[in-house]
């Protein structure tokens, strides 16, 4: 009887059994990583041009414009919520900056600042309504998605007199804003665009936030079990509102890139992109039910999307098959994810 309660040794000998490999397999993004490597090798074989540095930079750029949003959306999904307004909110932000600067003929940086405020406010409103009404985020953000779509179209016509914003390329501050949000960097002969760097920085910051700060702990908790989190004193309301504002911030970054890369914004754009962001996060190992996932996973998910999207072009395949192929890719990546995770959990 007395042997039952031996004080445990400083380091339990059973810990060793769960070694490096199975620890790695336990990570949420492992399925996506395997999928990404397979896809990379696959396209390297079928389309040799894929391996050229400049081609790869293009793939990275295509990935980054999904990936920047996928970071925010992944965090939000870990926190147990959806944001269907994320795609249109990007355009709302770009429209705000563009139309405000144009209409009042002010330095575009003023518009950029205002757009940030608007983007964060959209996120705040999403989160606040969600927490006040306790409605599913699916419904709340579907409503804001529709409202923003309407506002984008209506206000653009009202202010600019057209469905696209006037070009602001000649206005003060445009060049410096472009240098930040839509610059081309040539590094060792390879053209890299600024969203790629912004994306990588965002992923690094959010990963750190998620794994190494109190807020990160709270994000996992509110997504895993909201009531439990509330019971132990986690500020559930502000964590969730903050997550929506995080998506708003990412939307602002991408919106500014859209604006300064193309000078003008069309008010009908962005619809449907919210699903790409969610898909990227899911491929990256975020659970649809919340409480599990990683920022890096969302990034890898976006990278898979970018590779598939651009790889088909490099491989010179009949584009009729693109959507089918993309769907298949998503399915396979998520299945691999599932299998690997089950195997890791059963160990």
């Amino acid at each position: 009887m007395t042997t039952l309660l031996k004080p445990p040794p400083a380091l339990d000998e059973r810990v060793g059994k769960r070694g490096m490999v199975s620890n790695l397999l336990g990570r949420p993004e492992i399925g996506a990583l395997v999928g990404a490597i397979v896809l990379f090798i696959f396209f390297s074989i079928v389309a040799p041009v894929f391996l050229q540095a400049n081609s790869f930079a293009t793939v990275l750029y295509g990935s980054s414009t999904i990936g920047i949003m996928a970071v925010g959306v992944a965090l939000l999904m870990i926190g147990g919520e959806f944001d269907l307004s994320a795609g249109v909110a990007v355009i709302s932000s770009a429209l705000t900056a563009s139309l405000f600067s144009w209409y009042f003929s002010v330095n575009v940086w003023v518009g950029v600042g205002l757009a940030l405020v608007v983007s964060l406010a959209i996120g705040f409103v999403n989160g606040w309504i969600l927490m006040k009404t306790k409605l599913p985020s699916f419904i709340v953000t579907l409503a804001t998605f529709l409202m923003l779509t309407g506002l984008n179209l209506a206000l653009t016509r009202l202010i600019g007199g057209s469905v696209a914003t006037p070009s602001i390329a000649t206005m003060d501050g445009f060049a410096s804003a472009q240098a930040v949000f839509a610059n081309d960097f040539t590094i060792a002969g390879v053209d890299l665009k600024s969203p790629v760097f912004i994306w990588i920085i965002l992923v690094a910051i959010t990963s750190w936030l998620l794994l190494r700060t109190r807020v990160g702990n709270w994000i996992f908790a509110v997504g895993g079990d909201e009531n439990a989190a509330r019971a132990v004193g986690v500020p559930v309301k502000w964590t969730k509102i903050g997550l929506f504002m995080g998506v708003g911030f990412c939307g602002w970054v991408l919106g500014m890139h859209n604006l300064f890369a193309f000078d003008a914004v069309q008010s009908g754009e962005g619809i449907g992109n919210e699903f790409l962001y969610i898909i990227a996060a899911v491929i990256g190992g975020c659970l649809l039910t919340g409480g599990y996932g990683s920022a890096i996973g969302g990034a890898i998910g976006a990278f898979i999307f970018g590779m598939a999207n651009k790889g088909i072009v490099y491989a010179q395949w009949n584009p009729d098959w693109f959507k089918f192929f993309l769907g298949l890719m998503l399915l396979l990546a998520t299945i691999v994810n599932l299998i690997v995770k089950r195997r890791a959990d059963s160990k």
Partner: protein, 332 residues
């Protein structure tokens, strides 16, 4: 205490640059005077109500111009214009029904999905409402009871682009379709292909400009033989121009376009785009409304039972400066 100081810092960090930069922009921005285009005399005929019902998706520049043309005709002809649109055929039919319910004097309708509209246009005919069609449906307008059609054949427009490219020695153009499965866009590229057999189609996701840019870049990188690239809409062409420029291919890859915008014409003047083919959407809107008004003015029926072509019109360096002014006004 520490928390508050961080918040303060953030507020200050956000506000200071805004204040510092709140000086007015020295160039660009909203013109001080937009100028009036509706200075003409208004017709003395009694006011009538005419409905313009299109299949436009919200937020499309092209339809904006159609609407502007229609509005100008309406203003001039003392017409009360009711503009509605829905890309879904069934819902567009409902809009036509609503117009009949409102007892409009005439209906101008786009026939992108004629089968969905057949029944409801029969009702309009029975109610004695004159109908004209515009933009799409030049082969079916008669069968649904419209007395004429205003539009530009997409295939003919495509062929015009193809002919022009062939003249310039292009053999391998890329035709960039921003909406897979769109009949009109496919027809444009098919038209190009009739004149330049080496034409290759590239599909991009038009709802996301960054994806348009990156996919075009990818295609150009992987297709060294490409010697021209065609955008099927002004905003997409603008993005294509940037992608070509970023790859330093401007000397090798010619850019052609469909449709018009102020920026696009500027690009033609600057030599970044060779030419564009305009189906003159403003005319489609203007003429449809005007034709319906003429019907009431004197029982006129323009067209003589045949479609009235509003294009294609090719705009290149030679005539671009003349068009620029109108494009900036938003009517080209």
């Amino acid at each position: 205490m520490k928390k508050i100081s961080w918040q303060r810092l953030a507020v200050v960090a956000a506000i200071v640059p805004m204040l510092a930069l709140s000086a007015c922009s020295s160039s660009g921005g909203r013109p001080a005077d937009t100028g009036g285009s509706n200075g003409g005399k208004v017709a003395t005929t009694p006011s009538i109500k005419i409905a313009l019902i299109t299949h436009a998706a919200p937020g499309d520049t092209f339809w904006d111009i159609v609407r502007k043309g229609a509005q100008e005709a309406a203003t001039k002809d003392n017409v009360d214009l009711l503009y509605t649109s829905d890309p879904d055929g069934g819902r567009q039919a409902q809009l036509v029904q609503q117009a009949i319910d409102q007892k409009v004097a005439g209906i101008a309708v786009t026939l992108a999905k004629p089968d969905a509209l057949k029944a409801v246009l029969k009702k309009a005919e029975d109610a004695g409402i004159p109908v004209v069609s515009l933009n799409s449906g030049e082969d079916v307008f008669k069968s649904v009871g419209a007395f004429t059609h205003f539009g530009s054949d997409e295939n003919v427009a495509g062929a015009a682009v193809g002919t022009r490219l062939a003249e310039e020695g292009v053999t391998h153009p890329l035709c960039v379709i921003q909406e897979q499965g769109n009949v009109a866009l496919e027809a444009r590229c098919a038209g190009v292909k009739t004149k330049v057999p080496g034409t290759e189609i590239l599909y991009v996701q038009g709802t996301d400009m960054t994806q348009v840019a990156s996919t075009v870049t990818a295609k150009l990188q992987s297709t060294p033989g490409a010697d021209a690239i065609i955008g099927l809409g002004a905003p997409f062409t603008a993005t294509i121009v940037k992608a070509v420029g970023a790859l330093n291919l401007a000397a090798k890859v010619k850019v052609a376009s469909f449709d018009l915008s102020g920026e696009l014409i500027q690009s033609i003047i600057d030599g970044k785009v060779q030419f564009t083919v305009d189906q003159q959407p403003w005319l489609q809107g203007y003429d449809s409304i005007d034709a319906l008004w003429q019907y009431y003015r004197g029982g006129f029926m323009v067209g003589g039972g045949l479609p009235v072509l509003t294009g294609p019109a090719i705009i290149d360096k030679t005539n671009a400066p003349a068009v620029l002014k109108f494009a900036k006004e938003g009517i080209r």
